[in-house]
Each structure stands twice: as C-alpha cells, then as structure tokens.
C-alpha cells in the first residue's frame, strides 16, 4: 500500500496530464460545530432574487476554515436562511481567493485560487456541502504542496478531490496518499 502511494505521487510530480479525478488526503473528517461569520465593508441584498453581494475586504470566519476574497455572492432558496450557493471571487486588487482549512489535527491547509464556489443542498435527508476552487488553484498542506485544475472539498466527509493534480510531498508521504488513492497506478 505504501509503495502504491509513492508510485502515485511520483507520477503526478512527473507531470501526469491525463484528465483524471483522484482523491487527496482529507483536511478533516466531518464538520466542527459553530456559526459561520462573514465580515465585509459593504453588502447589497436583493430581497426579490434573494441574493446577497458582499464587497470590500470580505472575510469568512468558519469553524472549519477562514476565507478572504474581494467579493462574495450568496443566494438563498425561498423559505430558508441558509445559503445554497456562495461564490467567492478575486479582483484586480486582490488577485486570489485565500482559504485556510483546518485539518483533524488543527493544522492549516492553505488553498488559493481565483474562484471558490460553496454549494449546499439537503437531498433525502442527506446534506451535500462542497467547496470547489478553480482558477490556478494551489494547496499547501502539512504533508504536500501542489496544484490542480480543480480542488473540491467535501465538507460532509472532509475529503478533498483534485482534478489533474500535481503534488509534491513535503513529509510523511506514505501515510498521506496510500489508503485513499484508488486511482494509483500499479
């Protein structure tokens, strides 16, 4: 198993360009409890369309993550106070959306990209909650750093999926990827 993980990371570092989706280590398992707080300088709210637009040094303080960006657009479905979609964007002045995810050990995984989209839905009693980062996303975790075409974090499971990953190990490689990497080459 350890050898498989090592082979996989070598392949990605060497430039695995085939479009494939694989799983990276989970920043955490499950969610921490607590409220999410959005700080900003301004907010515009369209009550008819149920859209909030936050601008000016936007900062999200969440038990699982901290996010900074130039603009956030949040939409809420009718009859609910919970946003079903939040789009975090950069600007010419603030070139990246910056996210710091906390893992199970309380360590920070630093993610940047041009765009981050949070989506929330409850279907059949099951909560689906994801954060997708695109636009030259980078991740710097405790055990690895790298880039991908897309990083998708499942908040319900704590797993992060990377599309076209190009990761480099920084430490403890074997324990990072081996158990969860179903797409590892043999």
């Amino acid at each position: 198993m350890k050898k498989t993980g090592l082979l996989f990371i070598c392949a990605t570092v060497a430039g695995l360009t085939v479009l494939a989706q694989t799983t990276a280590p989970a920043p955490q398992k499950g969610r921490r409890s607590g409220n999410s707080i959005i700080h900003s300088e301004h907010c515009d709210f369209d009550l008819v369309k149920r859209v909030f637009v936050y601008t000016g040094h936007v900062f999200i303080d969440d038990p699982d993550m901290k996010l900074q960006c130039a603009k956030i657009t949040a939409t809420m479905p009718a009859g609910s106070g919970h946003p079903d979609r939040i789009v975090a964007e950069n600007s010419s002045a603030q070139t990246n959306v910056v996210i710091d995810l906390l893992d199970d050990h309380g360590e920070t995984n630093h993610v940047t990209g041009h765009l981050a989209v949070y989506e929330y839905a409850v279907v059949g009693g099951v909560t689906n909650e994801t954060v997708t980062v695109t636009g030259d996303p980078h991740i710097a975790a405790t055990e690895f750093t790298g880039t991908a075409d897309e990083l998708k974090w499942n908040r319900a499971t704590g797993h992060m999926a990377a599309k076209n990953p190009n990761f480099t190990s920084t430490s403890r490689l074997d324990s990072v990827l081996a158990p969860t990497n179903a797409a590892a080459p043999k």
Binding site: S33, N35, I38, E41, H42, F45, G79, G81
Partner: protein, 169 residues
C-alpha cells in the same frame, strides 16, 4: 409585485399628520404640509399580485413617524421594522433599524445608523451601519461594517414569527 401601500392601518388613536393621511389615501407623491405632530404605531402593508393577492408581501411598521420640516414627503421614522413574507405567509426577512428617513416620493429609506436583518427561520442574521432601502425593488444596501452570522444549528431565533400571516380583511 403588488401596489405599494395598498393598505395603511392605524394601530392607535390620534390623528395622522397630513403627510401620512396623504399616504394613507394612496397619494404617495403628495406634498407634505408642515405638520408638527408625529404618528405613533402605524403600519404600511403591500400585498402580492394575484393569485396570491390575499397574502401580505411586505409590512413596514414603526413606533413613530414624523414629517421632516422642509423636506417634502420625507418622514423621520423611529423603530423602523420591515417584514417580508412568502406567498404561503411565512416570514422570510425582518429588517429593523432604530431610526431612518423614509421618502414617500420615491419609496426609499436611509439612515447612517445601525441596521439589523434576520431571516425568518433564524438561520441568518446580519448587522451593519448605514443603509439605503428601495422599497419598489426590494433592494437593501448596507454601507459599513457588515457582519453576517449563518447559524449551524437548527432554527430557533424567529420561529415564533414564522407563523402564517393574516390575510386581507
């Protein structure tokens, strides 16, 4: 969208100032007479269009409304509260502010002071300083220091207010 201010109900005794009387009569663009007297505890209600025309869409209430001398059609509102409802009568949003100026000319409200917004299910609350409200478009802009709290818990805060609203009398 329903017609704005189709119904204005006086909730207490005491004469309405001429400006408010004009509003009550559906003459929102009327010039205000220079009335010194405030109106206490009044509400302005807007209904949905058909087929939900028996349901309240928005309801604005205040503890006191006083015409502003020298500003035609402008009211100095105290304890401003605006509630919006869905077509099934559930409370969607509640906007409150200690004070604001409301223009009956273009149906806008503004204030440099604090404002608070809460969703009907209590999962979202928002506070900030300084706002501009356009009643016709149902559009709210908050100018400074906006803090929004999205609750991770089951809704509790405004459950008591989410009962279906009364229909037209």
């Amino acid at each position: 969208m329903g017609t704005i201010y189709q119904t204005i109900r006086r909730l207490t005794t005491g004469a309405l100032p001429p400006g408010l009387l004009a509003l009550a009569a559906g003459v929102g663009h009327a010039q205000f007479a220079q009335s010194p007297g405030p109106s206490h505890n009044f509400s302005m209600v807007e209904y949905f269009d058909a087929p939900f025309d028996q349901q309240i869409m928005t309801r604005m209430t205040s503890a006191e409304a006083r015409p502003v001398a020298g500003s035609a059609g402008v009211l100095d509102i105290r304890q401003f509260k605006l509630e919006s409802f869905s077509t099934n009568g559930r409370t969607e949003m509640v906007i409150t502010a200690p004070q604001c100026l409301f223009s009956t000319v273009d149906n806008t409200a503004n204030s440099a002071g604090p404002i608070r917004v809460e969703s009907g299910d209590g999962q979202l609350s928002l506070a900030g300083d300084g706002f501009f409200w356009r009643q016709n478009e149902k559009y709210l802009s908050i100018s400074n220091r906006v803090v929004t709290v999205i609750s991770s818990n089951a809704p509790t805060l405004l459950n008591a207010q989410t009962q279906p609203t009364k229909k037209k009398p």
